[in-house]
């Protein structure tokens, strides 16, 4: 981290960026000193507000130390002001006073608190974005398109839920990964790019821990996000994987993802994120959709079923079966998926399209459009149905849609 100039006036944008960067390590410092997480988070927010007011005119020589001092004072005030809170059993951190107070350790420390299993994923994501991501409540609210007061309440309820919990177990990484993955899949519709935010936090976590699943998740995010530019048309229409302009994929992100994945796999502790990353790597590796190595993808799906047997995994596996062993085999694999699993009808339509049953596929796509959960997906399915209905019988339609849009 580069230090700012001593005692000089800073411009507004510099201060905002600096505060965002410093918030999480300052919170980490307080928690490390033994402050309970919820009160510490409030105290840091207050210190940040004060800094935002003062710093543009008078930037302290050591901004971080300034924030720690002010936040700690606020924390002590809050403790004194509330007798009940004073009596509350002090939270003991996992290893107080041990190791260097580095930002890497703070990231893990804070993430394990924000992603506590007692919180719902939505609450954990909101709290993580503010406490670790350094976003303001207003920004988190805009990302989720809810009123700021609603988001403030969601965050404070989450913190209240945490105040009774113990943190003896030093960070259940699996939980942190689940929350970061949810954040990643929330996408990037608003002003805050949640996918990019998730990549940034996972990157920090990967520096702090050697767990191969952390590297696996980071690889999965990079390998998926690498296709972002090709996934949407300029008009905001969804482009399925098979029809994407592969020259628009981010080759640097793919290379980094593959490197991370290979290093993780070499450690021989396979987990679901590494497997999902491997599947995405195989998609990214194909120069054209026709060259996709579906046989290997199916093998990874079988691994995934063994590690995490969920309806969604089974659904995606059916597509791989349809490509590797033919559409009838894919449809048989689909039989085992319950009818109410989201996107099941779309996959059924796709497999019938692969089999050449155009009219049936069009009917199913139209039905799937009726139950789509997003506007772009609904429009995509409608266009798919329209394309099949309008294609002359003797001419091939556009290349079939891939089931995964991501």
């Amino acid at each position: 981290m580069t230090g700012p100039g001593d005692g000089v006036a800073a411009d507004r944008t510099d201060v905002a960026g600096l505060l965002r960067e410093l918030g999480p390590p300052v919170l980490g410092a307080l928690v490390r000193r033994g402050a309970d997480f919820a009160t510490a988070e409030d105290s840091v927010q207050e210190a940040l507000v004060e800094a935002a007011r003062r710093w543009p005119a008078d930037l302290p020589a050591d901004p971080r130390a300034w924030l720690v001092t002010v936040a700690w004072r606020r924390f002590l005030d809050a403790r004194r002001a509330d007798e009940a809170r004073r009596r509350r059993e002090e939270q003991v951190t996992a290893a107080p006073g041990q190791g260097p107070t580095e930002q890497d350790d703070d990231t893990l420390l804070l993430l394990s608190r924000c992603c506590h299993p007692s919180l719902s994923p939505a609450s954990a994501v909101a709290l993580t974005l503010r406490a670790v991501g350094g976003l303001t409540t207003a920004q988190v609210a805009r990302a989720y398109m809810v009123p700021e007061a609603t988001m403030a309440q969601r965050i404070s309820r989450a913190k209240r839920a945490l105040s009774g919990q113990s943190f003896d177990r030093p960070g259940d990484v699996q939980n942190v990964l689940r929350v970061l993955y949810v954040m990643f899949t929330e996408g990037h519709t608003g002003e805050v790019d949640l996918a990019r935010e998730a990549v940034r936090l996972t990157r920090q976590l990967a520096v702090a821990t050697a767990d191969p699943e952390v590297a696996g998740l980071l690889a999965l995010m990079l390998l998926t996000d690498a296709r972002r530019a090709a996934r949407w048309t300029r008009r905001g229409e969804l482009v399925p994987l098979a029809e994407q302009d592969r020259s628009a994929w981010d080759t640097a992100a793919i290379a980094e993802g593959v490197r991370l994945l290979q290093a993780a796999l070499a450690r021989d502790r396979l987990g679901e994120y590494q497997v999902q990353a491997a599947i995405q790597a195989l998609h990214d590796d194909a120069a054209t959709a026709a060259e996709t190595d579906w046989v290997q993808i199916l093998e990874w799906y079988d691994e995934l079923v063994a590690l995490a047997d969920t309806p969604v995994v089974r659904l995606n596996r059916a597509v791989a079966v349809g490509h590797a062993d033919g559409p009838p085999a894919g449809l048989r694999a689909l039989d085992a998926v319950a009818p109410d699993v989201p996107r099941r009808v779309a996959v059924e339509a796709y497999l019938h399209e692969l089999a050449g049953a155009r009219v049936l596929a069009a009917d199913l796509y139209a039905r799937a459009a009726g139950t789509a959960t997003s506007v772009p997906e609904r429009h995509h399915l409608l266009r798919r149905a329209a394309a099949l209905r309008n294609a002359p019988e003797d001419r091939a339609v556009a290349p079939p849609a891939e089931d995964r849009y991501t």
Binding site: R235, A362, A369, G370, T371, T373, L382, A386, R389, N390
Partner: protein, 137 residues
């Protein structure tokens, strides 16, 4: 300024206009794309004029739910596939007059359908009730 809700129905309205009879999955892909692009265009135009508030599309299928006594789970019914009227979504605008609200609704209703011709779908316009009585005593 006053707020109006412009309701778009899948079915419903005084009568079905001829160009709106055919379901969307029977249009050509280009007609679907043009229709969607027009909807975005409406939002852009209303935003440009300082009149746009909100737009939301709804899933066509929903469930009826009601209270069934303390400690009992909610009672649910539906979805009903053949309901006469289904709300497809809405737009909320903040405009100077009822005339302007109707003009905006007609603009929305001019969205292209099959053959690039206007759908002429009926849009239901509902004024918001104000939070407080307007004007002085």
């Amino acid at each position: 300024m006053a707020k109006y809700l412009m309701l778009k129905h899948y079915r419903g309205g005084p009568e079905q206009r001829p160009n709106a009879v055919q379901p969307m999955d029977r249009w050509t892909p280009q007609e679907v794309s043009d229709h969607i692009a027009f909807m975005d265009h409406v939002i852009d135009v209303l935003t440009e004029r300082g009149e746009f508030v909100d737009a939301q599309a709804l899933s066509p299928e929903g469930t009826f739910v009601r209270f069934d006594g303390e400690g009992r789970p909610p009672v649910t019914d539906g979805p009903f596939a053949e309901t006469k009227d289904v709300i497809a979504g809405w737009m909320i605008i903040d405009v100077d007059s009822t005339e302007r609200a109707h003009e905006a609704a007609a603009f929305l209703s001019s969205a292209p359908g099959p053959g690039g011709l206007p759908l002429e779908e009926w849009i239901e316009v509902r004024p918001f009730l104000q939070d407080a009585p307007a004007g002085a005593e």
